[in-house]
Amino acid sequence: MKTSLGTLGVLLAVAVTAWGCGSGDKTPTATSSVPDSRFTATSEPAEAQPVGSARESAEDAQDIVVVGRIGGSSKPFVDGVGAFTIVDSKVAFCPEEEGCPTPWDYCCSQNEVKENIALVKLVDAEGKPVTQDARELLNIKELSMVVVQGKAQRDAEGNLAIQADQVFVKP
């Protein structure tokens, strides 16, 4: 019995390996809900700066407008909360022809991402992230270009977060 169980285990493990390698194409998905007007800007805010330069120049609690592309990791959105990361558009994401299933994780240019990424938080009146998924609130998906207007939040390590009031999704 021990031998037959072992054989079964080996067969199943081989099957996992064979099956697991084949699948993996993940297409960015946006929900088809109507965007929440509280956070959606009807026109593109002026004088938006790229994420990279915002990280260099923005000060804590300063009003800023930042433009960037949603991505930076395999899961740029925080599930169930209005928060996501954006990356400076000068950083190239993995080209489609390379067949990367999650090009928004910038796996080909991770070192550049570190200095060109910011967290966007859609906050309520108390400054806390809203408990609704950003994809539902703004009808956005991975690699969408967005212009974010809000207040900068800096720390001593140079990280940048934006408490967003308005988000404009570039067509």
């Binding site: 169980l5 199943l12 996992v16 930076g72 990791s73 599930d79």
Partner: protein, 389 residues
């Protein structure tokens, strides 16, 4: 009156007894088939149970961003635990003790001293905060590991492929060229930890010549969620951390093993198919030798439906007996057998659902196996069948 009646119950039973050898062989074949189904269903149920009970909905795991979904590949700075404790406000805290467990998790070769058996083991270096977070873990014998000591889960012997005596308290095992004494044994409610070896974090770091840790497990208070920790990790991009709810982590493993489960169900189908052929073979043989008898029953007034029911009754009697036999063996012998697997080890689980599936498939085999030969026999004209040799 006669035309409405079914054949007597005893008729079917006696028919089985008329060919005892053939009936016994078919019973054996069906029992083996149903037992194999129990093995596979028990395997699926055991794997599912092990993963389902491994996650705690209040626990969040923080580990390296570069490790993707594999915690074994993770390496984060040892200070991460204290940094998270200082930065996050919603971590469970009792009597001034934050429920934060820094852990070094590593798969490595483990050799037992008594028999020299060597196998790939899963070792977790922990602090005394670990039981505060890993709430299912219960020390059932011996003591918490001291310097140079380990405590072993109840499925470690299965994972290492060694005799359970080799990992009893007081025995010695070798991990990373260092000898460790087994100080205790623990259970974890059937979760994945039961196939792990736990030791003190500083000892394991020293043995691996590492100063970092793999992950930090935290028990969240009621006002904190995994999303809050994820936001912290995404804010502090310099730390290169990611957070996941422990239940989500094991859910992703469930998804990872989905092909295994699907393949196992395919095995159930194939084995059941083999069982159908065994049943068909027996019932065709049985019916072929009774064509005149069946025609006679029709001639004296029994309806075809009554004869069909009687033949089905024979098949079902055999398959029900085989299901009972296989179910008893499965419960007494298979249930609880430890199975080594890539993620650790788990036990075969012959629970209510397994019994339902196994016995249900068994009864189905009896019906499906008996139906075609019965229909074939009843289609023959009565006059012609009465002349059959």
């Amino acid at each position: 009156m006669m035309r409405r009646r079914l054949l007597p119950w005893e008729y079917g039973v006696r028919n089985l007894m008329r060919r005892p050898t053939r009936s016994a062989l078919t019973l054996s074949a069906l029992s083996v088939v149903i037992l194999l189904i129990f093995v596979v269903v028990g395997f699926i149920r055991g794997l599912e149970k092990s993963l389902a009970v491994s996650g705690d909905s209040s626990v969040v795991l923080v580990y390296s961003l570069g490790a993707e979904e594999n915690i074994e590949n993770s390496a984060v700075a040892a200070r991460t635990a204290s940094l998270l404790t200082a930065s996050l406000e919603g971590i469970q805290n009792r009597f001034g003790v934050p429920h934060v467990s820094p852990e070094l998790y590593f798969g490595t070769r483990v050799q037992t001293a008594s028999s020299g058996t060597s196998g790939l083991g899963l070792v977790r270096g922990v602090t005394q905060a670990a039981p505060l977070v890993r709430r299912s873990v219960r020390l059932v014998a011996g003591t918490w590991p001291g310097p140079g000591e380990v405590m072993v889960g109840k499925l470690v012997a299965a994972k290492l492929g060694c005799d359970p005596q080799d990992v009893q308290i007081g025995q010695e095992i070798t991990i990373e060229k260092k000898t460790w004494r087994v100080s205790g044994q623990f259970e974890a409610g059937g979760s994945a930890y039961e196939s792990e070896i736990w030791c003190r974090l500083p000892d394991f770091q020293q043995a691996l010549k590492r100063q970092d840790i793999s992950l930090v497990a935290m028990l969240m208070g009621p006002r904190m969620s995994a999303a809050d920790v994820t936001i912290f990790c995404k804010e502090r991009t310099d730390l290169e951390l990611q957070a996941v709810a422990e239940t989500d982590y094991y859910q992703s493993l469930q998804q990872h093993y989905k092909p295994v489960r699907m393949l196992a169900w395919l095995v159930v189908l194939l084995v059941a198919g083999a069982g159908v052929f065994a049943g068909l073979n027996m019932m065709y043989g049985s019916v072929a030798g009774r064509i005149r008898e069946i025609a006679t029953l029709q001639a004296i007034g029994y309806r075809r439906r009554a004869i069909l029911v009687s033949i089905l009754q024979e098949g079902m009697l055999l398959s029900a007996a085989a299901s009972l036999l296989a179910g008893t063996v499965a419960l007494l012998v298979l249930n609880g057998i430890a199975v080594r697997f890539t993620m650790g080890a788990f036990t075969l689980r012959i629970d209510g659902m397994s019994l339902l599936i196994g016995c249900g498939v068994g009864l189905l085999l009896g019906i499906v196996g008996a139906l075609p030969p019965a229909i074939k026999a009843l289609r023959l004209p009565v006059a012609e069948s009465l002349k059959a040799i």
